[in-house]
């Protein structure tokens, strides 16, 4: 089922309300899908109702009641549920333009990103429930067979039901930790978006980021993640030229999306006025600094140092090494890289190769470029690396 953007914005809202009322994500999803199918047929003919979300919730709720009544086996339980359903706020029953439907998408995303679920299941569920992507689209995006993705989603939904994963906001003392898990899922989706699959996951992640920023405008990390994604995505058109990755310094700046950059800077500014510098604030600040020419490498290095302390991530340390190489020369950067164990990370080898090349150690550089090429995952990356190898070895 293909839903347009407006429809998909409604999907998360409607599904969240239904999960809250029905307490069963599978039933809620079936009922919502039916309601959307009816809407797709009727709205173009009869016009959109004044309160589309109210209409969809009411229609889905009626479908769910029918569905529960059909399940004779669970007769006793069904009666109970059907009774609960009838107390759904009056507002949801009418198509009046003034009725307000509660927005429970936060409860939904915290449920989908619960740490008791496997990370790949959290990602798939979030795209399905909040993002409104179909199972088929998610399967396409992650290059797995439809059946695999369908099973992954079903299994996750069953775990939510059977294990009693709550449809609720986490308690105050767990909020930051659980929010970090939600943001990690969104950022993971965004980073998959660079992979060049058939579904625009980067755009999906930005949509999710916008929804979260609307729902939690007081959380600086939420705003910073949105800023980080907007600033990164703004350079999308300039990132690949003639099928080859273009390094930042060689990018055609007229291709950058200025509106998106302005928007990213706005969110970053708001995020920075809040208390401490969290990991996404630091990353967004770095992304913003990278847009300036010449780049402020000492400040970039300092922010990476903050990030290393917060995350302990060797990949962040690798990025710090790049900044250090810009300030103190390639050998200083190489010294930091030598201490890292990132042999399986493809960008480690391309970074290492680049610094070796700048240090004039061409034989070592060739070896490292070759290793990066072996690990490369997209054609634009491969073309870039082959080009670099060719420059080092003009005989080829």
């Amino acid at each position: 089922m293909a839903l347009d953007a407006v429809f998909r914005d409604h999907w998360g809202r409607v599904l969240a309300v239904l999960v809250g009322v029905l307490g069963d994500i599978e039933l809620a999803e079936e009922a919502a899908a039916e309601a959307f199918a009816i809407a797709a047929e009727r709205w173009p003919r009869d016009g959109e109702p004044p309160n589309p979300i109210g209409w969809l919730v009411t229609t889905a709720r009626n479908r769910a009641i029918d569905q529960i009544r059909r399940r004779q086996v669970l007769a006793a339980k069904a009666k109970l549920l059907a009774r609960d359903l009838e107390v759904l706020p009056e507002a949801a029953m009418h198509d009046s333009a003034t009725a307000t439907i509660p927005d429970e998408r936060l409860e939904l995303i915290f449920m989908c990103c619960h740490p008791a679920l496997a990370l790949d299941a959290q990602v798939a569920l979030t795209l399905r429930t909040l993002g409104g992507l179909s199972t088929e689209e998610i399967a396409l995006a992650y290059l797995v067979p439809f059946d695999t993705m369908s099973k992954r989603l079903t299994r996750a939904k069953h775990k939510i039901r059977d294990a009693g994963i709550p449809f609720a906001l986490p308690p105050e003392h767990q909020l930051q930790e659980r929010l970090a898990a939600v943001l990690a899922v969104v950022y993971l989706i965004f980073n998959e978006g660079w992979g060049g699959g058939r579904i625009d996951l980067a755009a999906e992640a930005i949509r999710l980021g916008r929804a979260l920023a609307n729902l939690m405008p007081g959380e600086s990390e939420v705003l910073a993640l949105l800023a980080l994604m907007l600033l990164g995505d703004a350079r999308r058109a300039a990132r690949v030229r003639e099928g080859q990755v273009v390094p930042l310094d060689d990018q055609d700046r007229s291709l950058w999306n200025e509106r998106q950059i302005a928007e990213g800077r706005h969110f970053l500014q708001t995020a920075k006025t809040r208390e401490h510098v969290g990991p996404y604030v630091a990353q967004a600040m770095i992304a913003e600094l990278h847009l300036h020419q010449p780049r402020d490498w000492p400040q970039i290095a300092a922010l990476y140092e903050t990030l290393v302390r917060q995350t302990g991530s060797p990949i962040v340390e690798m990025n710090r090494a790049i900044a250090i190489a810009e300030i103190h020369g390639p050998e200083a950067g190489l010294a930091l890289l030598d201490a890292l164990e990132l042999d399986h990370y493809r960008y480690f080898h391309s970074t290492y190769a680049e610094l070796l090349r700048r240090a004039g150690r061409h034989d070592d550089a060739q070896h490292a470029y070759q290793r990066a090429l072996d690990l490369a995952q997209t054609d634009p990356e491969r073309r870039f690396l082959r080009d670099r190898l060719g420059e080092l070895n003009p005989r080829d």
């Binding site: 059977d162 294990a163 009693g164 609720a168 986490p170």
Partner: protein, 113 residues
């Protein structure tokens, strides 16, 4: 909802497993939301029954042989998984090691023990 906390221990820490329950653990087990618990003897004490070609066969030892063994079972009452995980955290903090597996209970009955 009811949840079962399956307490796993390592077979090589057997002596600790048969020692009396320490006070901190006992305090947690005495909480009202703990509705039942059992401690189990180690794997060597297990006998496993399984059906094979219509006959029930007995074997000496546990069904799943591993370095870890099921050392105990604690039944608790909690609103949802987060509530159950909070109790599990509390218990795991006072245990000397091993792991706790949290499982939702379908139904059950505890008498005596």
């Amino acid at each position: 909802m009811q949840y079962a906390l399956l307490a796993y221990g390592r077979s090589d820490t057997l002596r600790a497993a048969t020692a009396p329950i320490d006070d901190t653990t006992a305090a947690v087990l005495a909480r009202p939301y703990v509705t039942g618990w059992v401690r189990l003897h180690a794997d060597e004490s297990a006998t496993t029954l399984r059906k094979s070609e219509g006959k029930t066969l007995l074997t000496d030892g546990p069904f799943i042989d591993s370095k870890e063994y099921l050392a105990g079972l604690i039944i608790i009452e909690a609103d949802d998984l987060d509530g159950a995980l909070a109790v599990a955290h509390e218990l795991q903090d006072v245990r000397s090691g091993g792991a706790l597996e949290v499982r939702p209970v379908i139904e059950g009955m505890f008498r005596g023990a």
